[in-house]
Symmetry: none
Subunit: 145 residues, 2 copies
């Protein structure tokens, strides 16, 4: 299970260390794609393949909106090998998409990892904390808490 927050640097060659706690679960090859709220999603290859398979079978490309969706998800993604030292190489387009520069917040979320610009993450999670009570209520409604 992928959990925790890690602040790592992006070096001059666009390399980013994957937290060592995540490596075993992620395997050797991962897929990084555009996520929601201007962050990047990182998946183990296998999970991504299942997903892409699903996409290409369930979304017929006859429809314009499906084509657009496919292009955004698949073209905007990249399969990346985790190097011998546990780093990934961030493609330029994804780096720009997520407004990444010298540092990145790497966050584990159960079955995927998210990569954030640290400042955006800070703002986002602060505002999220203000919603905590709201969320607690919802969890209560679901009988979880």
């Amino acid at each position: 299970m992928l959990i925790g927050e890690y602040l790592h640097t992006i070096d001059q060659k666009n390399r980013l260390s994957v937290p060592s706690k995540f490596r075993k679960e992620l395997g050797k090859i991962v897929v990084v794609s555009r996520g929601l709220d201007k962050c990047l999603f990182l998946y183990p290859l296998l999970m991504w393949e299942k997903l892409a398979q699903k996409l290409s079978t369930e979304l017929p490309s006859g429809k314009a909106e499906n084509r657009q969706f496919m292009r955004s998800m698949v073209a905007g993604a990249s399969d990346i090998e985790i190097d011998a030292l546990g780093r990934i190489l961030l493609p330029e387009n994804l780096k720009q998409f997520a407004s990444l520069d010298k540092e990145a917040m790497v966050v584990g979320l159960f079955n995927r990892v998210e990569i954030w610009n640290p400042e955006i993450w800070k703002t986002y999670s602060e505002s999220a904390n203000q919603n905590t009570e709201l969320i607690a209520e919802k969890l209560g409604e679901l009988g979880m808490y």
Copy 2:
């Protein structure tokens, strides 16, 4: 698996480098055809054959619009050999069809490659990003989120 975006130049002889990550999967011979949304589709030969098979069985050629579609897709297509250095030679008619000039955005879409005029691609993908909510919904449906 074909994914990612690559900006490559088209030289004076209409040659275009295929991203090296794609070459293994594409094999030596590919088929390039007119695509949807003013881009070109590029398939591995085998995939193309399957596709053409599917089209000819599933689209009854009784209908005039089906015949038109078939002709546009099939007649406008070319089988092209990837040269020793990983380049393809773009036929003039396809180049014009996709408004290609000095540069091309080459994008992987899981089981096919698309070739775009970079500016058209930019406009297109920007408009796609504005549909973020739609994307979020779909991701939810797919259990990715």
